[in-house]
């Protein structure tokens, strides 16, 4: 292990990013005698694992499973019949067969509905979790539970835990980035660090939700000086750093000032690097087409008033998928992108068609792109929402259903073309291979090389973890 000073001297930029270690050392020295390490440098997990990074495609609003990835012929057959007792709060509780056709795809013969013609071509890459369930059929709680494990009190988000566990591979970028997260359902808590040190919190790019600016603009706060050129700012920063060097020399040793010096340098480098990554103008037409950004695909704009997120075009979901790939490729550890608008209480047929068409080509493009860059093998792609929807109709839509739904994963360390778990004949409730959100978290951590019971952080006198006191790894899906 180098000393701080050696690291400072050995890094070419003068003020090394690794001087961050200084802070860690100071904090560690305060808290315990823990060995001083840079808290953000890449770390080894508990055991070797295939997945090294995560792209989480978050479907805000809870997509219907019985119309997408959970084929229910009996639901179709019994369409219009009364739902089993006490099911379905609204609409008289009549079963509503899916208006969409399902077919088998790939060598694995995986059932996927006609809503995903492009994604279906990648069936053999997908690992379907058809037995998902969560605690409450309420958006805010379930959304928080999906991100933080529990909703009862503030906890670090999933991405923050992963960053805490693995560190990051690019010193010029945040290690956990979330693109256009929603502002409701707990908002920033869903990418927050809670009691983990703030350096693990997600960096938000763009703002989510419907409306102008929603789902589209990719902005990081304070990333650009409104007046100065980078050259002018470099002049200014050099002066700041000379003041700080003087202050440092005067006091002798001060890890906090060393930390300050290096954090300014990282901030400055982020200003240079992040906009470059967010600018996709140098991507080829073929790539843009593959993600559905150009050349059709991607659905109409949705949401009240006809604005809001869509699949295609700059600022659409395809663009977000492409950004996710670029960020992951640049060494970001955890990227989350959000597609809002899945709360289909009404007009399921049209609205779900539109939602799915907005993500179908982009996700297919993402999987293909990762594959062709040989990154799918160690990148875990996760798709899913906070719960599923009722097999019984609610007018022409479906209500919330927490007892059974679908998420899927692809890439890093999971079995492709594999289906785990199932719901009952209608899709109300998971009955086999039941996978609670805690189990899903435990499994993802396992895929990244962690024993979820040992990835802990001491807070309020307790060793806290993402899975709280629960969670079992779904070993069956590990490749």
């Amino acid at each position: 292990m180098f000393t701080r000073r050696q690291l400072l001297q050995s890094t070419s930029s003068g003020f090394g990013y690794l001087a961050f270690a200084a802070l860690a050392q100071e904090q560690a020295a305060r808290a315990s005698s823990e060995a001083a390490t840079n808290p953000l440098s890449p770390k080894k997990p508990h055991f070797p694992a295939k997945a090294k990074r995560v792209i989480f495609l978050c479907m805000d609003g809870a997509p219907s499973h019985v119309d997408t990835f959970d084929y229910k012929p009996k639901l179709t057959a019994d369409d219009g019949k009364a739902a089993p007792a006490r099911r379905g709060v609204f609409g008289g509780g009549k079963l509503m067969g899916s208006p969409f056709k399902f077919e088998k795809h790939g060598d694995s013969g995986m059932w996927i509905s006609e809503l995903f013609p492009e994604l279906a071509k990648h069936a053999d890459k997908l690992c379907m979790l058809n037995g998902m369930h969560t605690d409450l059929p309420n958006h805010p709680q379930a959304f928080l539970q999906m991100h933080c494990g529990i909703f009862q009190s503030p906890r670090p988000s999933f991405g923050a835990w992963v960053l805490y566990g693995l560190g990051t591979e690019n010193a010029n970028l945040p290690g956990f980035i979330t693109l256009s997260p929603p502002q409701n359902n707990g908002g920033p808590v869903n990418y927050g660090a809670s009691f983990l040190p703030a350096m693990y919190q997600g960096t938000k790019i763009g703002r989510g939700g419907f409306g102008p600016g929603g789902g589209g603009s990719q902005q990081v706060s304070n990333l650009k000086n409104p007046k100065l050129t980078l050259n002018a700012q470099r002049e200014q920063l050099d002066f700041v750093q000379s003041l700080n060097q003087n202050a440092l020399e005067e006091v002798g040793t001060n890890p906090e000032i060393e930390g300050l010096i290096s954090s300014y340098e990282l901030a400055f480098r982020m200003q240079g690097e992040l906009p470059k990554l967010l600018d996709t103008s140098n991507e080829t037409a073929a790539t843009l087409k593959m993600y559905g950004i150009e050349g059709g695909g991607g659905g109409r704009p949705m949401g009240p008033g006809g604005f809001g997120p869509m699949g295609g075009g700059r600022g659409g979901f395809g663009q977000q998928c492409l950004l996710a790939r670029r960020l992951i490729e640049a060494g970001v550890r955890f990227v989350e992108i959000t597609m809002p608008g899945w709360d289909h209480h009404r007009n399921l047929k049209d609205a779900l068609t539109n939602s799915c068409s907005a993500i179908d080509k982009p996700i297919a493009g993402l999987l293909a792109d990762l594959k062709q860059k040989d990154m799918l093998k160690d990148t875990l792609v996760i798709w899913g929402g906070e719960f599923g929807r009722t097999p019984s109709g609610q007018g022409d839509g479906r209500d919330h259903n927490a007892k059974g739904y679908t998420m899927w994963m692809a890439g890093g360390g999971v079995k492709g073309g594999y289906t785990h778990g199932k719901t009952d004949d209608y899709g109300f409730e998971a009955v086999e291979g039941k996978t609670h959100v805690h189990d899903w978290h435990a499994t993802v951590l396992h895929l990244l090389g962690f024993d979820h019971e040992k990835l802990v952080y001491k807070h309020a006198g307790r060793e806290m973890r993402l899975t709280d006191t629960k969670g079992n790894v779904v070993k069956e899906i590990v490749a």
């Binding site: 305060r30 605690d135 309420n138 945040p174 350096m199 409104p226 002049e235 200014q236 954090s263």
Partner: protein
């Protein structure tokens, strides 16, 4: 509700009938097993138990799971936390068998892998034969934690503070106070020599920032440096203690503890338009040096204290806002769960804020570290369940738990709303209400009614916030006792014109009453017997005497008593921490067994005992800042560092970064923008009830106001909306207001750098100082000197002057290269120079 809870309910409903709960002789267990049965056990059962179960369910287990021990006959028959594991002869009803069958993943055992069917069949056969079992002996978990309250009483924190004479020190001349003697004795024992004294400039800037959160002006600095009187420093301290800026800073420390915020946070975030009254109460209390014991009593039970005049009465009602401003999940479906969650939050904040312990851990199980049995938790819960929490909010989508507010006496307090409601406005709102009601009545589609119903609630709430004559109502958040008996609350519902939400009220307490214990914290698992309302046994041998009312007043008196071993220590420790950067108990938030013991117990007790003489926070602050130790330099010393790297013994003053509020306020002050007049109310108050983000209800006013770069009030008055903290605060480690925070962390992350380099607020402030400098001085050297004095409280050295001049020249040249018009270059250059000083360590740290 957790999965575990669901499993527990199943257990409770299915198997926990009294007859079966306590298996005794003649219950069907094979008490006299045959040789064949024993052989079967040895061959088929015991090896499996040893191999697959003992790891978690035996005396040898590192951690016994579910309180279930399977390594003795007694243990396997008695069962665990959820009741017996075997119903002899009844395979289907035996939880053990159900677990082995893996039908339900929540109770599946062993959890990771199902045993072979043949093995399960063996267990079924064994249960059928009455579970013959030769294993004698008591079921004892080697590490089972049992709360021993009596033993707990000897833990240092639960023993009353002891007065001890100040120790003898070798360097008697150095020590100017008992505080110094206590510190120096320990330093001398370790062979550490304290560093020299801070120079006058450093000392004044330090004490200004520590006491008021603002740096001295250059005039104040020069006057102090010129004042050669021996009591010059004391005069400065007295002036700062008397300044209204003192309460704004020290009040903010308390607001961290009180998890102050102006919205509910959690799942659906709704405004608390009246929370600001509590903020102002706290600031005023610190400014008035309200005795700390009274401060405690007012916050817990101000409504129950006799008040001579309407103003005092109003003030004390507002104080109980302490109990009402916590985070709440307004979309909770179960009334009882909601009530128990509020009560839990109140127990949490009460025990942490005043006692520095976490009693809320005992909601579901006896406290793992501290001698707090679950029974004590529910003794406290009874007090808070007998209390009505009034916090307002409005019925809305995802918000189905509004409560009343408390009316304040007329003219007893200011109003956040300056304007009366005009007759026209009233008519318009009434019409809106009528129209919405009609629209809702005409529609049979409940879904389509959701939004109009929400609009209706908002309009109604607006109307309800005014008196009949249009004067804004004076209302506050707070607490009040429930009625002694009966209770006027009738459950409504299904709620609202839209017909949504839960039917209300089942199981909620409606009047003053003791609470049962809720096993594992589950609302559907109350014990038959109730626990007498009271307090923590470990800290009091005599039960609380509650004559009438909820018991809040008695609880408050018990906490604010000189006999309470923790109250004074916890507060004295926090005051120390805010001045030295580190508590004598370094875990300021936890004085329990999971915390750290005091680095200097005698000093802590000395401070606590002297604090209790008059409970004056200002006098305590003064005693500490007048010590020699506080006036030490912050210079690094290698020899001392090697012995005491944390500076726990105080061989120097630890330098530290300004906290978020001080940093922002200092920028405002230095740039001359600071508006020192406290604003009345807050943006949230003026916005009124409703969800925090409301793009469909007329604008997103709050989110813009939160980060308004033109806001020039002190940071303590910024809107504090849960999960939407102002960036200037959140980036610099202001705590999440959903958490109770005694000690803020200090992080250094690049997003702070980006804020300082690029944020409009910082740029505005830099331009403001630049304009000031350009106006007041003429030469470049003068300007640099003036800037150094303003930012740092000192003049620049020769080398620094030269560096600054070089920068100014180079930067202006760069601007020319960047084609900035010549007319703007000078101002831009000076603005960039000032921004650089804001960015510098010397500005951002206090030495």
């Amino acid at each position: 509700m957790s999965r575990f809870a669901l499993a527990s309910i199943a257990l409770a409903l299915g198997w926990n009938s009294p007859a079966l709960a306590q298996p005794t002789k003649g219950t069907g267990f094979a008490d006299k097993p045959t040789q064949d049965q024993l052989a079967f056990f040895e061959k088929k059962i015991r090896p499996v138990l040893v191999e697959s179960c003992y790891n978690c369910h035996s005396a040898q287990a590192e951690k016994v799971k579910g309180e279930l021990l399977l390594d003795t006959r007694e243990g396997i028959r008695k069962g665990g936390a959820t009741g017996p594991s075997i119903i002899p002869g009844n395979v289907e009803r035996s939880p053990l068998i159900k677990g082995l069958r893996h039908k339900d993943p929540d109770t599946a055992m062993p959890p990771k892998a199902k045993l072979p069917d043949a093995v399960i069949a063996d267990f079924e056969a064994w249960v059928k034969m009455g579970a013959p079992d030769p294993r004698d002996g008591k079921a004892v978990a080697s590490n089972k934690y049992v709360v021993d309250v009596e033993k707990g009483r000897s833990f240092w924190a639960f023993v009353a503070p002891k007065k001890s004479p100040a120790p003898e020190v070798k360097n008697a001349a150095w020590a100017t106070s008992d505080i110094d003697r206590h510190l120096l004795a320990d330093l001398e024992k370790k062979g550490i020599k304290p560093v020299g004294d801070a120079d006058k400039r450093t000392l004044l800037r330090r004490v200004y920032l520590d006491l008021t959160g603002l740096p001295p002006t250059s005039e104040e600095m020069e006057a102090f440096v010129a004042d050669a009187a021996p009591n010059a420093f004391e005069k400065a301290v007295d002036k700062l203690l008397a300044s209204p800026r003192f309460g704004e800073r020290w009040g903010r420390h308390w607001l961290d503890i009180a998890r102050y915020a102006e919205s509910t946070g959690k799942t659906a975030n709704f405004n608390y338009p009246h929370a600001w009254r509590y903020r102002d109460y706290v600031i005023a209390a610190f400014n008035a040096d309200k005795p700390y014991d009274q401060f405690i009593k007012e916050q817990l039970a101000g409504d129950l204290m006799p008040s001579a005049d309407p103003k005092t009465k109003a003030e004390r009602i507002v104080a109980t806002g302490f109990l009402a401003i916590g985070p709440k999940a307004l979309n909770e479906n179960s009334s009882l769960q909601f009530e128990l969650d509020i009560v839990d939050e109140q127990i949490d904040v009460t025990t942490q804020a005043f006692l520095g312990i976490t009693a809320a851990c005992a909601r579901c199980h006896d406290h793992k570290f501290d001698p707090i049995p679950t029974k004590d938790y529910y003794a406290l819960a009874g007090i808070f369940r007998s209390t009505e929490t009034c916090y307002g909010t409005v019925r809305f989508v995802q918000s189905q738990r509004p409560s009343p507010l408390i009316a304040l006496p007329a003219e007893s307090a200011p109003s956040a709303i300056a304007k009366k409601l005009t007759a026209e406005e009233r008519t318009a709102t009434e019409k809106e209400i009528a129209d919405l009601k009609k629209k809702i009545a005409e529609s049979t589609d409940r879904l389509a009614n959701i939004f109009p119903a929400a609009q209706l609630s908002m309009a109604q709430s607006k109307l309800d916030s005014y008196e009949a004559d249009g004067t804004p109502k004076l209302q506050a958040m707070g607490a009040r006792d429930k009625p002694e008996r009966g209770g006027g609350f009738t459950p409504k519902g299904p709620f609202g014109p839209g017909g949504f939400g839960p039917k209300g009220g089942f199981g909620m307490s409606r009047s003053i009453d003791d609470s049962p214990i809720y096993t594992r914290g589950e609302p559907n698992q109350p014990t038959a017997e109730k626990v007498a309302r009271g307090t923590l046994q470990v800290m009091s041998k005599t039960p609380l005497k509650i004559k009438t009312g909820s018991g809040r007043l008695e609880l408050a008196q018990w906490i604010a008593s000189k006999d309470n071993p923790l109250t004074a220590r916890v507060m004295a420790n926090r005051v120390w921490m805010h001045l030295f950067g580190r508590g004598i108990v370094s875990t300021a938030e936890n004085f329990g067994a999971a915390g750290q013991p005091p680095s200097n117990p005698e000093l802590l007790d000395h401070l606590a005992i002297s604090f209790m003489e008059d409970w004056s926070v200002k006098k305590l602050v003064k005693r500490i800042v007048m010590s020699h130790a506080y006036q030490l330099d912050s210079k690094f010393d290698k020899a001392a560092f090697e012995v005491d790297p944390d500076n726990a013994l105080i061989w120097r003053m630890s330098p530290r970064r300004l906290d978020a509020e001080s940093l922002r306020d200092s920028m405002l002050a230095v740039s001359g923008q600071l508006d020192a007049t406290p604003p009345v109310g807050s943006v949230v108050a003026r916005t009124g009830e409703g969800p925090v983000g409301r793009p469909r209800l007329g604008g997103d006013g709050i989110s813009q106001a939160i980060n308004d770069p033109k806001n020039t009030h002190r940071s303590v008055y910024m809107p504090i909306v849960r999960d939407n903290l102002p960036e200037a605060l959140a980036l610099f480690d202001a705590p999440d207001p959903s958490l109770i925070t005694a000690d803020r962390p200090t992080t250094t992350v690049p997003s702070q750098g980006l804020f300082i380099l690029n944020n409009p607020f910082v740029i505005r402030s830099s331009e403001a100082v630049a304009d000031k400098l350009l106006k007041s001085t003429t030469t470049e050297t003068e300007r640099i000197r003036a800037a150094y004095l303003t930012f740092y409280g000192r003049a620049p050295g020769e080398k620094e002057l030269a560096t600054a001049e070089k920068f100014l020249k180079g930067f202006q040249a760069q601007l020319a290269k960047d084609r900035v018009p010549a007319t703007r270059q000078e101002r831009e250059t000076w603005a960039a120079f000032c921004q650089a000083l804001f960015a510098s360590a010397e500005f951002q740290y206090r030495k």
